[in-house]
Amino acid sequence: MSDFEETIRRLQSEKGVVGIIVVDSAGRVIHSTIDSDATQSHTAFLQQLCEKTKASIRELDSSNDLTFLRLRTKKNEIMIAPDKDHVIMVIKDLS
């Protein structure tokens, strides 16, 4: 198992984690632990949200940048960690 797969496996074993998606900076899927339909819908939404948030943060203060985004919903918690060459999205089930 590669270092990459090993790290994914470890994250996935955390309590409540139901999905991990890793995309590159263009929004192309590098790895996903969920089915391809769910991956596609989540990726489209989360990538857009992350880009919009990054742009807004920079507009408020051009020397600032987004480092972590957390959405809490009634059903789950979505964590988004953007980096220069990738974005990691983790979905944690709350039920």
Binding site: R10, R28, D85, I88, V90
Partner: protein
């Protein structure tokens, strides 16, 4: 109700492999996973009131 879903050319398995073995990619990827791992392990659920709470008074 409809939404434009941007379609991007998917990465080939070769490209995925190249990326996930790249030391620079792995370095920032592992750093991000550490942050997420810590966020997942926070023991406080901010939506559940476990303890005496200074904000309690105003509600009841």
């Amino acid at each position: 109700k409809s939404q434009h879903v941007q379609t991007v050319q998917p990465l080939s398995d070769e490209e995925k492999n190249r990326l996930t073995l790249d030391p620079e990619f792995l370095d920032s990827f592992n750093r991000s996973c550490k942050v997420i791992g810590r966020a997942l392990n926070e023991d406080i659920d901010i939506f559940i009131n476990y303890t005496k709470d200074p904000y309690e008074k105003a509600v009841t």
